[in-house]
């Protein structure tokens, strides 16, 4: 138990001193996970909107599949991305293995289903409300989707936070495709795993606390923005 207490102290001294290595690792974590989130959102949001707004045969199957893919095992995703990016794989020539790009790709695969499923759920409940009005006004699908996205932006933000949480906390996939190479692909979670395997539990947990604080900060920031915005358009 001592260890947990020491780790908390360690995390604070880490945050106080903020040495270059810690900053490097934190920044890489943020860069990788935020980039992955943006890409996942660019891919996932249109898919979610289409699934929410259109009806076609096989839609339900796609929809349930995306739900199931929220539970894709990171290690499996890591292995598949590894095989694709490996020199002997189809995209080997791009030399992406063991780079941050590879980690971003893996996280995009993990985060996209979360964005699709949660955004679809919230867009769909908006759609139930708005559908008749939008149809009646003669909105094109693109117009309708943009209205749904805009008026549902606060719930969509929550979905994105869930996706970001998954990305920043994830270790299995980035470990495999990034290789946890010092100064190149070492992020917070892989550092924690490494320190834990060295038996240095204080450092591992201290970093863990830093990571959790980071998540909390981002969540509170988004929450702040959200409640400022919501106050203006309270329903």
């Amino acid at each position: 138990m001592d260890v947990i207490w020491q780790a908390t102290l360690a995390s604070f001294s880490m945050l106080m001193t903020l040495d270059d290595r810690l900053i490097e690792v934190i920044l890489l974590s943020l860069r990788v996970s935020l980039t992955a989130l943006v890409i996942a959102s660019l891919i996932g949001l249109p898919i979610a909107a289409c699934l929410a707004f259109t009806r076609f045969p096989g839609r339900k199957i796609i929809l349930v599949s995306f739900n199931a893919m929220m539970g894709l095992p990171p290690v499996v995703v890591g292995l598949v991305v590894y095989l694709l990016l490996s020199r002997s794989g189809p995209f080997g020539v791009f030399n992406l293995l063991f780079t941050p790009t590879a980690m971003i790709i893996a996280q995009v695969v993990l985060v996209t289903p979360i964005i699709v499923s949660l955004c679809r759920e919230s867009l769909e409940s908006m759609r139930r409300e708005y559908h008749d009005a939008l149809r009646s006004l003669g909105a094109t699908p693109a117009q309708a989707i943009s209205v749904l996205v805009w008026d549902g932006r606060f719930t969509l933000a929550t979905a994105h936070l869930a996706g970001f949480g998954r990305a920043i906390a994830e270790v299995g996939a980035v470990m495999i495709v990034g290789g946890n190479i010092d100064h190149v692909t070492r992020v917070m979670t892989t550092t924690i795993a490494l320190e834990a395997s060295k038996g240095d539990l204080v450092v591992a947990l201290g970093l863990g606390v830093v990571l959790v604080l980071l998540s909390l900060t981002i969540n509170f920031l988004v929450y702040g923005v959200r409640s400022l915005g919501e106050a203006k358009v309270a329903s």
Partner: protein, 267 residues
Amino acid sequence: MTGASPLPLRLESVGLSRSGKNVLKDVTTTFAVDPPKTVIIGPNGAGKSLLLQVCHGLISADTGIVDWATPQNARALSRAQAMVFQRPILFRRSAVANLILALKIAGFAKSEWRDRADGALERTGLSRHAATPARSLSFGEQQRLALARALVVEPKVLFLDEPTASLDPAAAHLVESLIDEAATSGVKIIMISHDLNQTRRLADEIIFMHRGRIKERAPADQFFTRPENDLAQAFINGELLWRRRRSIFDGALVDDETCSSEDFNKS
């Protein structure tokens, strides 16, 4: 917006079922530019709202044909129409933003949005609520905003589902005159109302519905003076309808499961 009216709208043997019940049965009728104002009346659950939504294209009929005269593309067709729902559906935006969104979707030039929206708010008496979130307006204000949103896009055909149900007498009057104005300027009005006085004031022609069927369709004066269908007759006698039906059918009238309207006609 510009463009020709897509009328007449022709319905042929339209049927609709929900949860195994036939809620619209064999509806055959035509809505033409003339007469300008058609009012649909009938008891609760007669299928009035569903019929309006079928006409407007929000629900597709299970059987039968719904057909607009002018071969227009779907988009132009839907832009030529507007509807005010019985339960107003407003966007989570301010009142004025609701109107601006409608204008934007209808393809009006951006420079006109603000002026047109402000004009519509003024005409419906909502200017001081321009910045209020639409969903915190009072129910009557919401209903007026929904009307403003339908009028602002200058449709050719206007579907109104009890647009004055929650309005105070003065506001109801205002709305009636707005409807009249629109009709005068060539907009076809198809409206549902429960208020027989209002119907008398506004209607050029009347459709009486009961249990998913159109029971009678007649010019307004003829309908009120000499209704052919006896159910319609009972209905326009207002509270008398209730007493009469109660006395005849022993209290089972509002919920006359035991006597189909067919029986009623025969009686």
